[in-house]
């Protein structure tokens, strides 16, 4: 079981989302990490992002390399994903959909939770 759960709840246009991803990569160097996308954080999972014209770096391109960093447990909220209207074909990475109860359980199973 992973030691640290990274919870991403901010939209990709925010620096908090990008700095959260930086923290996840750093975490993966020291510990077994998993990542959970919730709320506005789900928008980080959209495939066709091109934020350079608005002055943001497309750090979400790095998601495809997460498995190289040993981050293979990637989750999101099934109920919130449905609310965003994002279709499974629009996702930039394979994510496991969890029910609300499973997400509560995910928090409990980890040694610590870092929220971004």
């Amino acid at each position: 079981m992973s030691q640290i759960l990274f919870v991403m709840s901010r939209s990709p246009g925010t620096i908090n989302a990008q700095e959260g991803f930086d923290a996840l990569l750093m975490g993966s160097a020291f510990a077994q990490c998993s990542v959970l996308f919730l709320g506005d954080g789900l928008y980080q999972l959209l495939k066709e992002q091109n934020p350079e014209p608005i002055g943001s770096k497309n750090y979400t391109k790095g998601f495809s390399a997460l498995s190289d960093y040993g981050v293979t447990q990637i989750y999101c909220s099934e109920s919130q994903l449905k609310e965003t209207g994002i279709k499974s074909g629009e996702l930039n990475i394979n994510v496991e959909l969890l029910t609300d109860d499973e997400i509560n359980q995910l928090f409990v199973e980890h040694q610590s939770v870092l929220s971004f």
Binding site: Q80, D101, N104, F107, V108, V113, S115
Partner: protein
């Protein structure tokens, strides 16, 4: 048993679904405004609000919510198996 802290009403509304019935919920900062609009669906005496934030915002508590100090906030953290800070 987990401790969840919420610092905004919108964040509470969006994420209350991830709180288990036995978990404890602490409203801090603007999260205490939740006490005005609704009695959040948290029962069994598991709802708390941070006293200084309640006083600062002029919110009135009903019997379903316990007022706690920062000292008691620390104790809630010590007693919880896991902490999730929602913001």
């Amino acid at each position: 048993m987990m401790l969840h802290t919420f610092n905004k009403l919108s964040v509470l509304n969006e994420n209350l679904r991830f709180v288990a019935p036995e978990d404890q919920v602490l409203l801090i900062e603007d999260g205490v405004y939740a006490l005005l609009t609704q009695s959040p669906a948290i029962k069994n005496g598991n709802l708390f609000a941070l006293d200084v934030d309640v006083q600062a915002r002029g919110v009135t508590l009903d019997a379903s919510c316990k007022k706690v100090s920062y000292d008691e906030f620390v104790t809630l953290c010590v007693e919880a198996d896991q902490i999730k800070n929602w913001f």
